[in-house]
Symmetry: C2
Subunit: 470 residues, 2 copies
């Protein structure tokens, strides 16, 4: 492809994307395909000759897009949202066009320095503790791809600190014990397993009726584990669980962790961004106790996936766990301690210039735009909850402090059958997409209100759909 | 930003990128900034009001780009290349514009199915064993972000197999021993440490004068470890090491691993792509023994970072190590076994639609274009080697089968001082960028010839620069 062709096709693709984003509502929100449908319509073998860009885009339109779940659709109430925004799309494009690699400061200084600045900006915008700031004694932040990666980094930092670094040499994790509720994200168990903390040493702490961690249960477990000669090393407190958006009581968990010398990780992947709006800053309660914290602008802030923000107050443990310095990566700037080498803050070595999309979003879209969106989603959730409460056929089965509402069909009793049928029937219309979860054994329909395009009439239509089908 | 503004700014950015790529040669290849320079020129606090896109782009041009190392510069001979290409940039743009998330098949079926097809296409194009094909009994491939992540996935699969899955419950890694040479990538040690295999159980296998693994040393170590009651579980054979592009003898290592029941991972992050050209298919020697394999289209195939291809012949171990199924991720398609859920093939949960950039590159650029580039780089390296050999001031200190030449200043003796000074002086000109490594205690200047824009006159100019400065 020549530069001239790139200009022509690039302009066309920009227009195609604008059309796609503006018209996505006209498509079914869930993909209406069976396993294998997409592949069966594409050539089994690679082409031997170059093809035209138009031929590729024809396949995109006719085969690929109909085979996608439209995450930007205003009727997307499934999982958690994964917002994009126009400035962020352009930031991602610029990152691809520059094609630089920011594994170390020296491999592209601006890639590191803009990222550090973005983490400090976001710390300020979210009103997070100053000890997470890059200019603090021992803290700082970094962009990770996903909360799963942030979680693993937190676990590895905790593991290093609990063993005073010995784990790097002896790899012995057999005494370490971690704590979270059954409502914590699956990445907690996955990360712990990766780090050599098997399920036998992952304690599932009891939760209360609001699906939040019971600190009495946590304390009892820690005491029992210490008595058994084990080493409690990691607690995950979730601010906004995936199933029901429950908030663990970090203000009460924190003092326990502090007293016991246990690493406290706060996972606010979905809900932490709510703190952009001052009235929602309660989502940060107890954060002063956290050793590490993460939240996802790629969920609720219009910054394209992947963009997870991870902060720690213990950079020493982070670097102790993750830094390795082969000869081919040495640099004078790094050895003088004057710079951050983000490769030592993450699992991979290489890294894209992801800070651009966050920088573009904050500057071109403006924080007020994100505050407005967050407030709208919270209000829509609140208003939907009132409608559900007024309808005898349904019940709300979990607190709904922000933008997730968990419903069940009342006639279900314990079976969950009617709720499951309702989800399937609603999704089959293509007008809305919901996902199911199970809360204490009960089938639940989750209404996650977080797509950027979702307005009041979309939520009204979704509720109308549910009541009609029920 | 309105859709209309997105169209205008998007078109302008496409043009800006074409200009950047075509004119990058006019910039210094290495960033000419000191630590803190970039940040000091940007506002310390986020803006409260939205800014114009033009204001942001002005900062990009005046502050960000001069603070970057220009990885696409034809004078970039540092590290390993990180190619982009126009179709791949557009593929990345489309991925950002669609904003879908392919963690499971059901969350965007086409995202999974196009990716599976791309891995099968690439298996065919690289002439890799059929047991890596997604249609084989127990194999398949996936796009990882980086080779570091692929390595960790391989280690975790090996760990699961060696413990018959017990590690998921007991987390006990204290008997496991891994093997690689000192020339293996730093991600091997990092991945092993993460997985609970500390440096006490990472064996550094001796290498020969070509920096390739000595299989007699490997066998002795395995025997000694078995005698000590330990469990050899993982061997990394590198095809193209980072320091010198050495090739471990997989054809000889493979039978040892097979006999001993040890997982054999082949890391061909840089060099594996050479197999696109039939005359370089020797880079696959011994691949029939590999349990897992990875190579990077984002290095030498014009597919934007991040795009690592990871294949395994043992999907059972992969899924045993990495799958976790919470209620909120269950789907009928997955439970029927009809689909691949790539979240279980990687460390993170979420994933971008990265297959698009590979698909766009193969279809629009064509495989022949990449073959031509690879052949040109190999020929340029060969011809440069002839020039170096003819110059008494320099010596070549490692084999150079493909596109990396390792030089030292002959007068150095053991000190490395003259070579180090030469690297610094050359890089300070801004005309070329080299990186240093150490081979068996000796300072080495690496000439990595792999940027897409690098032509003969660029290599000639670089050699002229080195000889002038020497």
């Amino acid at each position: 492809m020549t530069p001239e062709e790139f200009r022509i096709h690039g302009h066309a693709l920009i227009d195609w994307i604008a059309d796609y984003v503006e018209d996505v509502e006209e498509r079914p929100v869930g993909a209406m395909v069976e396993p294998g449908d997409v592949r069966s319509r594409l050539p089994e073998h690679p082409p031997t000759e170059p093809e035209s860009f138009d031929a590729v885009m024809a396949d995109v339109e006719q085969i690929v897009v109909p085979g996608l779940t439209q995450w930007q659709h205003p009727g997307f109430f499934a999982y958690f949202p994964s917002n994009t925004s126009y400035p962020s799309i352009l930031g991602e494009l610029l990152s691809a066009g520059l094609g630089v690699q920011g594994m170390s400061w020296v491999t592209s200084p601006a890639c590191t320095e803009v990222e550090t600045l973005m983490l400090d900006w976001m710390r300020e915008l979210l009103d997070l503790p100053e000890r997470f700031d890059s200019r603090s004694d021992n803290g700082g932040g970094v962009i990770q791809g996903t909360a799963s990666e942030a979680t693993l980094v937190a676990i590895l930092s905790a593991r290093w600190r609990a063993t005073a670094g010995a784990v790097n040499a002896d790899g012995n994790t057999t005494k370490l014990v971690a704590y979270a509720t059954s409502q914590a994200h699956s990445s907690i168990e996955k990360g712990l397993r990766i780090a050599g903390v098997g399920t036998e040493r992952i304690r599932v702490v009891a939760h209360d009726e609001s699906f939040a961690m019971r600190t009495d249960a946590l304390e009892e477990m820690i005491t029992a584990d210490r008595a058994a000669g084990l080493v409690p090393f990691f607690v995950c407190s979730t601010h906004g669980t995936t199933s029901s958006m429950a908030f663990d009581p970090t203000s009460a968990i924190g003092p326990i962790c502090e007293r016991e010398g246990i690493w406290l990780h706060v996972d606010a992947a979905m809900s932490g961004i709510a703190a952009l709006a001052p009235e929602h800053r309660w989502v940060n309660d107890g954060m002063g106790y956290a050793d590490s914290y993460c939240t996802n602008p790629h969920k609720w802030m219009g910054v394209n996936f992947d963009c997870n923000l991870y902060w720690t107050a213990d950079r020493t443990a982070l670097l102790g766990a993750l830094s390795i310095l082969p000869e081919y990566l040495r640099s004078q700037a790094a050895e003088a301690g004057a710079v951050i080498d983000y490769r030592d803050w993450q699992i991979p070595l290489g890294r894209r210039f992801r800070a651009l999309k966050l920088w573009f979003a904050i500057r071109c879209e403006g924080v007020a735009a994100f505050q407005t969106m967050i407030r709208r989603h919270v209000e829509l959730t609140h208003d939907l909850a009132a409608l559900v409460t007024a309808d005898d056929r349904f019940e709300i089965v979990a607190p709904h402090p922000l933008n997730l509402l968990c419903l069940a069909v009342r006639s279900d009793g314990d079976s969950g059958a009617a709720t499951d049928r309702l989800i399937d029937a609603a999704n089959a219309t293509g007008d809305a997409l919901f996902t199911r979860t199970v809360l204490d054994g009960r089938s639940v329909l989750r209404v996650s209100i977080g797509a950027r395009a979702t307005e009041r009439h979309h939520v009204d239509a979704a509720w109308n759909l549910l009541t009609t089908l029920a």
